[in-house]
Amino acid sequence: MIVADQKPIEEILQMLEPYRKVLFLGCQTCVAVCMAGGEKEVGLLAAAVRLARKHQGRPIEIVEGAVKRQCDDEFNEPWAKTIEQQEAVLSLACGVGVNKLSERFDVPILPALNTKFFGEVERQGVWAEVCAGCGNCILHLTGGICPIARCAKNLLNGPCGGVRADGTCEVAQNGSRPCAWVMIYERLGKLNQRQNLENIFGAKDWSSDRHGGPRKRIREDMLLEG
């Protein structure tokens, strides 16, 4: 799923500063599951913003709602009339939802979230990045553990010299975490596939990644026109 974080309330209040009539629109898919922008978070944020604004002596009128998938026009359509009546929309979807609404409506669409990464649910309340969407998957060679996303240096032939004796990575962001290549080594052992490590990966063609500019996927057979 796409993992996002709610922006600090101070920043949200600042974005909303010029407006008095706003729709808070959540998304019931990824950001609901990662507890950042679902129906529940819409309710909480709206209550907090109303309280803050009342306290400032500048009350705000908030309509609350959430759509199934904000990245898809057809789910936003039932909200079109409401959106057009607002001074602004605070979107609690990921950045994709904000872009989508901005393409369709002539109303400022403000992002309530910082969109972060594709992640798994590690345990309740913890999400971890495990795929970076490089566009050319090699997981069949690495025991299902992605070195692009899970190695801090995106190494294809790891580990690097910085791996610690206890198997953790030298790059410790958010506390210590295992070296992706140690994980791959152990996993390949379990699968009897350590021979995979004898093949040295050549330089990766990053054109399938974002480095080739914004990407688009087209399925000709599914197009309705033409």
Binding site: P8, I9, E10, L13, K40, G43, L44, A47, A48, V49, R50, L51, A52, K54, H55, Q56, G57, R58
Partner: protein
């Protein structure tokens, strides 16, 4: 209730605080009548939204009262509620509302006197805070 009495909403666990409030009544213990009790099956049921809604609806203070630590009938409902209360306190501070207006308490069903004391304590605490929760700040501040 006079206007100067702060309105307090108390989210009480059915097994402890709610029973303790009942006991306080049976024992004829005096506590401020401005405390409005809402019974929860366990404080684990507490949704952070309930707290904000209480403030929105005009509460000057909110009490969340659950079983003693180790005594929750659903094992860890009270510990989880306490964490949520802490998170909301942080949020309140950031939107300009004194976090002291919200407090979590642990007590047992036998502590009718403790319940009355908590009700008095919170009432006094809120009275000592300068303004009501939603007294608007002068335009341009806060």
């Amino acid at each position: 209730m006079t206007n100067s009495e702060p309105k307090i909403v108390a989210f009480c666990c059915h097994y402890c605080a709610f029973a303790a409030a009942d006991l306080a009544g049976v024992l004829r213990l005096k506590y401020p009548p401005n405390v409005h009790i809402i019974r929860l099956p366990c404080t684990g049921k507490l949704d952070t939204l309930y707290i904000l809604k209480a403030f929105e609806a005009g509460a000057d203070g909110v009490i969340v009262a659950g079983c003693l630590e180790g005594g929750c009938h659903f094992i860890s409902g009270n510990l989880r509620a306490k964490k949520r209360v802490l998170a909301v306190k942080g949020l309140l501070a950031r939107i300009g509302i004194a976090p002291e207006r919200l407090e979590f308490f642990n007590l047992s069903s036998a502590q009718g006197d403790r319940f009355a004391q908590i009700a008095r304590e919170m009432t006094e605490r809120i009275k000592s805070l300068s303004s009501s929760v939603l007294t608007p700040l002068p335009e341009g501040k806060g």
